[in-house]
Symmetry: C2
């Protein structure tokens, strides 16, 4: 892990890093020493690790919960090379959604091309980041909506360090087998009028989680219109579950 | 309105009252003076105004939000005379639920026998209670699950003083026409494994609310197993919506 740049503002220290060829960013409270909970965030499709929404959430996690937050660019996004295979998959998915058809035929491609490699990358990020003195081996949370949920489901299922997850805005492309393996508390967001995720697919994914404690929050509006109070709720959820 | 008994404990003043023949209870902060928001609570079927859950919620509303709370016994419940017509309706509903059949054929009876008279009673309660110096004409919230939702939907639809409502655990017996007339913010609770309310009926009722701000919270478990953190959420919802 190589730190490449560092800035601080309003109580939050931001460190850019590369892990092998993987570009990432780490946020911690300014002057933090000792172990603390860590929230790994997965960005949405077409976004990247430093998208405005990612920055705003990371700041609140760090300032209001005192935790660390980390994010890396997903394959084909941000500072990583454009990826024809990923772009083709995304186009096929959007075409199926636009036609009102099931996206589940793309599940195997999605898993092989993006989901499985991402799980491996994110596990390596946890390994590296938790060796830093101001992070350490504290409990881990995961936050990811949309593509960040599609990648988060197999990650949370595979990674025992994750103790709680905020997921949502994703449907049939998430494997229900992986969802059933998740047993940690989950807060799951649904946009009631989501133009990209059929409602029944969202409800089926929530249904599939193996967690004894899982809570679904549904709000009116389209895919990009999650109300601001849901971030307040996510903050309280992580504070409660990670003991931060 | 006639006050019949008064006690105080741990910061909460409890006043029993009768309004005509209607038995009720009012909770306010000890030593409260001046106007404040008021939350009217509707109890569940087979319960009454002083059931343990009602008391616990009222205490938290009063202490944590600084509001007043009020509840009266519903027809056939608590201190009111047993009511053969209500009991027959409840038995018919339970028989339909047990048989896995729709309860909607009972809607007209439910409206005529209980829902419409209750709306009138509760409006009279608001009229009377808001004349008290330590309540006044502040904003009103409504909290009611199960039967308290079935009665709450027509009440909230009819009563412009209500600015926000927590509802849930109720399905087809609630009129979707009344639900569509509700435009205030609603927090709506669903038990994902509710043995008394089919999931599709809950989702249809949420769908029917006319409110621009409505949020559905679904949790695993049966009808009586709403997790404790949903009361925390209701408190924050009312604090935000009623400005308390």
């Amino acid at each position: 892990m190589r730190l490449t740049a560092e800035t601080s503002s309003d109580g939050v220290r931001q460190q850019l890093f590369t892990l092998g060829e993987l570009p990432g960013v780490l946020w911690t409270p300014e002057g933090a020493v000792g172990a603390r909970p860590l929230i790994l965030m997965g960005h949405g499709g077409g976004e990247h690790k430093l998208a405005p929404g990612m920055l705003a959430r990371a700041r609140r996690f760090v300032i209001e919960c005192g935790v660390a937050a980390v994010a890396v660019d997903v394959r084909g996004h941000g500072e990583r090379p454009r990826d024809a295979a990923f772009d083709r998959l995304a186009s096929e998915e959007q075409a199926l959604v636009a036609a009102g058809e099931e996206t589940s035929p793309l599940l195997a491609d999605f898993q092989a091309l993006v989901a499985r490699p991402t799980v491996t990358e994110w596990q390596a990020v946890l390994d590296a980041v938790q060796q830093l003195d101001h992070i350490g081996a504290g409990p881990v949370g995961y936050w990811g909506l949309s593509l960040g949920c599609g990648l988060g489901v197999p990650f949370v299922a595979a990674e025992p360090r994750v103790r709680a997850a905020v997921l949502g805005l994703f449907g049939a492309l998430a494997s229900v087998e992986a969802a059933a393996e998740i047993t940690v508390p989950v807060e799951f967001l649904v946009q009631w009028d989501d133009e990209r995720v059929p409602r029944h697919e969202s409800l089926a994914l929530f249904d599939a989680f193996g967690s004894a404690e899982k809570t679904l929050h549904a709000n009116p509006g389209q895919h990009g219109e999650v109300p601001g109070f849901e971030l307040d709720s996510a903050l309280r959820f992580f504070a409660r579950q990670l003991g931060s």
